[in-house]
Amino acid sequence: MPLLEVDSLTVDYRTSTGTIRAVEDVSFSLNKGQKLGLAGESGSGKSTLGLSIIRLVPYPGVIAKGHIKIDGTDILKLPAHEMRSIRGGKAAYIFQDPMTSLNPVKKIGAHFVELINTHEPNTSKEEVSERTKTVLKNLEILPERMNDYPHQFSGGMRQRIMIGLAIALNPDLVIADEPTTALDVIVQAKILELLENLRKMYGMALILISHDLSIILERCDKIIIMYAGHMLEYAPSMELHKEPKHPYTQGLLQSIPNIELSDQKLAAIPGSPPNMLNPPKGCSFWPRCSYAKKICQMKEPPLVNVDHNHLVRCVLYDKGEVHAERNREG
C-alpha cells in the first residue's frame, strides 16, 4: 500500500470576485522513502496542493473533490482532532519563510517541548530535552543553543530548526515548500544536503515543492509539472530530463541557464500565465503553446501514459502523433 494516495483532487478558492480553481483533478501516489518534486511557477497551484495534503488550505480555499489517503485512511473524512495528530506526527510541513514560522518570544527548546508534549503527552521532561538535543545535533546546531531565541540565529540556521521541528516526531512524510528560496546558494546546498541525509536516516518520504526546476531535477525521483492548477506532466526525473514531452516542460527546460553548458541558447516561452479567475478554455497552456491547434482550445486533453510511467496532458500524444521536436542540447 502506498504511503500517500491523492485521487482526482480539486481545490477551489471561493473569493468574492469568483471561484478560482487552484488545483484541478490531480492524482498521484507516493511510496515510503520516495522523493517527489512539485515544480511550477507562481500561481500554478503547487503550494495549494502541498497544503491540502495536511488539510491546511487557507480560507477561502475548499477541497471541492477527490480523496487523500495517508496509510490507507482518507484524511478528508477525519474529525479535526484526529487530523491534528496526523499533522506533525505522520506528515509534516516545512514552510518557505523561516523568519516568520518560528515564535519570536519563545526559546528554540520551547518549540520542541510544545511539539512533543502536544503529540506525546506522557513524555518525561528529561526525555523531551534529550530528544531535542539529538535533533539539534543532527542539524549540526550546538545543543546548548536550545536556550536561544529565534532572532539569535541566522536565516540558514532558522530553516534548519524548522526542518528539525518537522522531523522531531519521526513522520513518514515531509512536505518541504520552497525550503531554500529565501537563502543564498551555499546555504541552500547545505540545507538540501542535510534534508536528504535526515530523510535517509529517518526513512521518510519527501515532497519537495519549488519553482526551481534545477533543484527538483537534482533532488527528486519523480516530478510533477504543474501549470495553472493542472498536472501537465508526471514522470521519473531521468525520463523528464532525457525526454520532456509536454511543450511547457520543454519550454521550461530551455529557459533554465545551466552553468555546465557553454554557448547555451535560452529560449523564452511567449506570453504569460493565465488569469485564474478566467482561465482559457480547453488546454490551460494553449495560448502560449507553439503547437496549439483548434482542438486544444475546445477540450482539455486527458492525461495519457505515453511511456512506462510517463504521463502527459497534451493532444500531441493523445492520438499517437509524433511528439514535438526538441532542440534542447544535452
Binding site: D212, H241, I256, I259, S262, A268, G330
Partner: protein, 328 residues
C-alpha cells in the same frame, strides 16, 4: 581595445551603525557597516560586467554608489574619463540621462498611482525634454521597443493591471527613454517567473546591440550571470575577490570562495553526481570584519598569513585577477 566607460578606484561605502543611548555615553567611536570596502574595476564600452555574490556582499550598494544614488565614503568614480564622484546640481542631472538603473522589484519601483504613459514619460518631463503629445509619442515608441505591443493598449493602464513581467518591461522602457549609454541592472529578473525571465534577458541583450548600451549587471544567480555577461566579479564582504572573463572564471575558478560558490549551484541534471566544497560557518558580520583575508575563518586552505595580511587582487592569468595568498 575597447574604451572604458566606467571606472571606479578605491571605492568605499560605510554606513554608520546606530548605537543605543548607553553605548553613546561610554564610547565616542562610531562603528560602521563596511558595505563596500575598497573596490576597483573598470567596465569597457559595450560589455556586460557582472557583480555577483551572496546577500550582504555589497553588490547592490556598489551599483547604487556608481550611479550616484548613494554618496561614496571615499574613492573615485569615472564616467567616460570624467570624474563624477563630486558632481552636483545641473551637471549631475545631465549625467543621469546617460546612466540609468533598473531595480529588482517591479512591484515597488513603479508608482501605483501613475499610468504607464506618465510613469515612462516622467523622466522626459523632469528633464524638460518633452510633454503632452510629444511625450506620448516617445512613450509609445519605447513601449514598442520593450515588446509591449500594441503600445496603445498599455499606456492608460495602472501597475496593478499589469503582470510582473509586464511591469519589469515598463521599468525597462522608462530607463531607456533617454537612450542612456550605461545601465545598472540590479537583479532585474530574480523576481520574475522562469518562463518570463528569458524574454527580459533577451530584451536587455538586444538593447546592447541596438542602443550600444553597456551594463553593470548585479545578481546572486551565477547561472544567469554566466549566460548574460562578458566578465564577472565575485564579491565577498565588501571586497572583490576574483574578476575574470566568464569562460576562465567558470572553467577554472581560483579563489576558494568562488570554487565553493560554483559547486553549490544546482544543475538541472539528475544524473550528475556533484562534488560540493563544504564551507564551515556562515558569512561574518560586516561590522566586525575578520582580520587579514576576510574569507579566512571559513577557508579550507587557510594559513597563518591569511589571518594577518589582507591579500590584494593580482593578475594570475591574462585578465583573471584573484585576491588570495595561495596564488603566489
Amino acid at each position: 581595445m575597447l574604451s572604458e566607460i566606467v571606472k571606479v578606484e578605491h571605492l568605499k561605502k560605510y554606513f554608520p551603525v546606530q548605537k543605543s543611548f548607553l553605548e553613546q555615553l561610554f564610547t565616542r567611536e562610531l562603528s560602521y557597516v563596511k558595505a563596500v570596502d575598497d573596490v576597483a574595476f573598470s567596465i569597457r564600452s559595450g560589455e556586460i560586467f557582472t557583480l555577483a555574490g551572496e546577500s550582504g556582499c555589497g553588490k547592490t550598494t556598489a551599483g547604487r554608489v556608481i550611479v550616484r544614488l548613494l554618496e561614496p565614503t571615499s574613492g573615485k568614480i569615472y564616467f567616460n574619463g570624467q570624474d563624477i564622484t563630486k558632481l552636483k546640481g545641473e551637471k549631475l542631472r545631465l549625467l543621469r540621462r546617460k546612466m540609468q538603473i533598473i531595480f529588482q522589484d517591479p512591484y515597488a519601483s513603479l508608482n501605483p498611482r501613475m499610468k504607464t504613459v506618465d510613469a515612462v514619460g516622467h523622466p522626459l518631463e523632469i528633464h524638460g525634454l518633452a510633454k503632452g503629445r510629444e511625450k506620448k509619442k516617445r512613450v509609445l515608441d519605447v513601449l514598442e521597443r520593450v515588446g509591449l505591443t500594441p503600445p496603445e493598449q498599455f499606456i492608460n493602464l495602472y501597475p496593478h493591471q499589469l503582470s510582473g513581467g509586464q511591469r519589469q518591461r515598463i521599468a525597462l522602457a522608462r530607463s531607456i527613454i533617454f537612450k542612456p549609454e550605461f545601465m545598472v541592472a540590479d537583479e532585474p529578473v530574480s523576481m520574475i517567473d522562469v518562463s518570463l525571465r528569458t524574454t527580459i534577458i533577451d530584451l536587455m541583450l538586444s538593447f546592447r546591440k541596438e542602443l550600444g548600451l553597456t551594463y553593470l549587471f548585479i545578481t546572486h544567480d551565477l547561472a544567469v550571470a554566466k549566460y548574460i555577461s562578458n566578465r564577472i566579479a565575485i564579491m565577498y564582504l565588501g571586497r572583490i575577490i576574483e574578476i575574470g572573463h566568464k569562460e576562465s572564471l567558470f572553467l577554472d575558478p581560483k579563489h576558494p570562495y568562488t570554487q565553493a560558490l560554483l559547486s553549490a549551484i544546482p544543475v538541472p541534471n539528475p544524473k550528475r553526481e556533484r562534488k560540493r566544497i563544504e564551507l564551515s560557518g556562515e558569512v561574518p558580520s560586516a561590522i566586525d570584519m575578520p582580520t587579514g583575508c576576510r574569507f579566512h575563518p571559513r577557508c579550507p586552505y587557510r594559513t597563518d598569513k591569511c589571518s594577518k595580511e589582507e591579500p590584494q587582487l593580482i593578475e594570475v592569468e591574462k585578465n583573471h585577477f584573484v585576491a588570495c595568498h595561495l596564488m603566489k
